[in-house]
Symmetry: C2
Subunit: 165 residues, 2 copies
């Protein structure tokens, strides 16, 4: 845990950490990646794409039949568990920001439920071994995997979205 001395100006922590026993989740595998520790890990997906490196979803044996139908080139949403992050900060000031802002306006892993979310693309797929090579993510080797969903243009864009530029 951070001590008060570590807090940055404008940050607010809950008096008690959020109760984390409303429901339970299961790890379905892990994410293997070229980033072996947090210090070398890119801070966001854009950096991960720019710096190269690799990421791979490794699905545990019982769940591998659930990969049926997924295909190389398909965009997917990956949910993962950032279990080392503190969960009690509701206002926070990341290093790249001048002022604090609300946790729900940030993609920081520090949040009541440290569920990471990434949109990526399947580059190769071995359903038997449960291994999917994907466009690189910003998470360290060994991160626990929670879910894989197909990304669908019909529902996963904001209503009325048109690309910038």
């Amino acid at each position: 845990m951070m001590t008060d001395a570590d807090a940055r100006e404008g940050e607010i922590a809950l008096d008690v950490p959020p109760l984390a026993d409303d429901a339970g989740i299961a790890f379905i595998g892990h994410i293997a990646s070229s980033w072996k520790n947090r210090s070398e890990c890119p801070r966001n997906i854009r950096q991960a794409r720019e710096r190269g490196g690799w990421s791979r979803l490794c699905v545990a044996a019982p769940f591998r039949p659930a990969l049926n139908g997924l295909a190389v080139g398909q965009p997917i949403v990956v949910l993962y568990w950032l279990g080392e992050a503190r969960r009690d900060l509701i206002m926070q000031r990341p290093r790249h920001r001048e002022t604090a802002t609300g946790t729900f306006n940030l993609r920081s892993p520090v949040r009541p439920n440290p569920i990471g979310l990434a949109v990526t693309t399947i580059r190769s797929l071995d359903a038997l071994e449960g291994v999917l090579e994907i466009d690189p993510l910003d998470c360290v080797d060994g991160t626990a995997l929670l879910d894989i969903k197909p990304w669908l243009e019909s529902i996963d864009l904001p209503h009325g979205f048109t690309p910038a530029g």
Copy 2:
């Protein structure tokens, strides 16, 4: 639980449901909506948008400061908990499909971790009361809320994405 007699052709269930005690999650509020029960609830976000109705995120008091910085018109990602869904099906055949397919290739709530994900837009915002009106979602009134994240064009589109049509 479904009995074997309810299974549709091609469906596969795990011998045991996935262990759900790898980590714990906290409910940060709930989703209020015009769909009061499952029978009237739209089956996906596209249907929800077409049929009208409304959805509203209700954030519990301790977490409301975490809304700081969010703004009307901003696209967000909402994560929610579909706790009534069974969690053991790894191959399934939704009513609209001819054949069974893998759970990770479906957006069905039936999955090892029944975390729903929706991209939507903030239509009005009362940070003091913790209420955000949003473009309608396909979940019933009272669904537990897990997280709100800003949707970011720079990371939440598949790499190289160009819109269809």
